[in-house]
Symmetry: C2
Subunit: 166 residues, 2 copies
DNA sequence: CGAATTTGTTTGCTCCCCAAACAATCTCCG
DNA sequence: CGGAGATTGTTTGGGGAGCAAACAAATTCG
């Protein structure tokens, strides 16, 4: 998805009266509503970080957390945890490594694998990022009670489990 | 996102005992759980269509529904409804037009715009697609009661509304 | 030891997304 | 009416995400 989707001014189109199109069955579809919510959340995430002068995607945040909590992780294990191909992971790690947030250390026990770990700068940055994520989470859940938020999380997990994985 | 993410055989890795990594705070984050659910739903969507010998993405389905319910729509209006840039829409429409599902007709009233409409083949195909979507929706909601599904949809809408749109 | 497997990388392909520039067209104001 | 400004669709350029296939290095297993 594009990064930092900042809305353009869009001089209040006079011609199209914003008639709000007919969306048919779409608003009754779980998949559709899920996609819309996800997209809005992504935009909010980007906006939150941009406003703080930080640059990170939700995927990168998840990756950093996984590396932080599982120091020495191999790329293969990380890719599996993220549900992506190992070849997809390579340029992502390249970028984070170029930003000095993590390093690919040689594993002493297995010469094929890399032992991933955060740099100390990476650890510090992650702490900052976590604060921003908390702000972001608070906003996207702002219209929900604590109980509703928990229920939503549980329902989402049930959806994930119900979808077939192949 | 990649199309038709069919899992590979993956000869039951003996080395990594699938120890289930530590995900830290991630499972408590709405954004994270939303992303995971959305990803699983996408895979299910692709698998459902692939199994039926049809090829369509959730986005294309939404687009077709919008065009069907708002015949004569301009590309600009459609892009706005989809929340994407008008330049992004061009290759998408090219593809659907190449599949003879829709046409860009010249607008009689405004020479700048195209009036989008489904072909009769497009209308027929969409009816087939809608059946597949119903199957797909049934599966992803298979672990949820009707009330839970409705509640989930409502909660997702609240999340979308709570996220800031810039 | 040698064959098979695993890991990380590279290359190639597809897709999604945006921004900027451009021609055609329409609108609106003088 | 006529030209300036806005709108629309397209093209081009750039970035990211994702997979598959091929490869070298390294490990494992027969």
């Amino acid at each position: 998805m594009g990064r930092l989707p900042v809305k353009k001014p869009a001089t209040a189109s006079a011609k199209t009266p914003a008639t709000a199109l007919d969306r048919g069955v779409l608003p009754t579809l779980l998949g559709y509503m899920l996609r819309r919510a996800q997209s809005a959340v992504f935009v909010d995430f980007a906006a939150t970080f941009q406003a703080a002068g930080a640059a990170l995607t939700p995927g990168e945040f998840g990756l950093l957390i996984l590396v932080a909590r599982n120091t020495g992780l191999s790329q293969m294990a990380l890719a599996r945890a993220l549900g992506i191909d190992r070849s997809t992971l390579v340029p992502i790690l390249d970028r984070l490594q170029a930003r000095s947030l993590l390093v690919r250390r040689r594993s002493p026990t297995d010469g094929r694998t890399h032992a991933l770990e955060l740099t100390s700068a990476g650890t510090k940055a992650l702490a900052r990022f976590a604060v921003l994520v908390r702000v972001h989470e608070k906003r996207i859940a702002s219209r929900l009670s604590t109980a509703e938020t928990q229920m939503l999380i549980d329902l989402l997990e049930k959806v994930r489990a119900g979808a077939r994985s192949i």
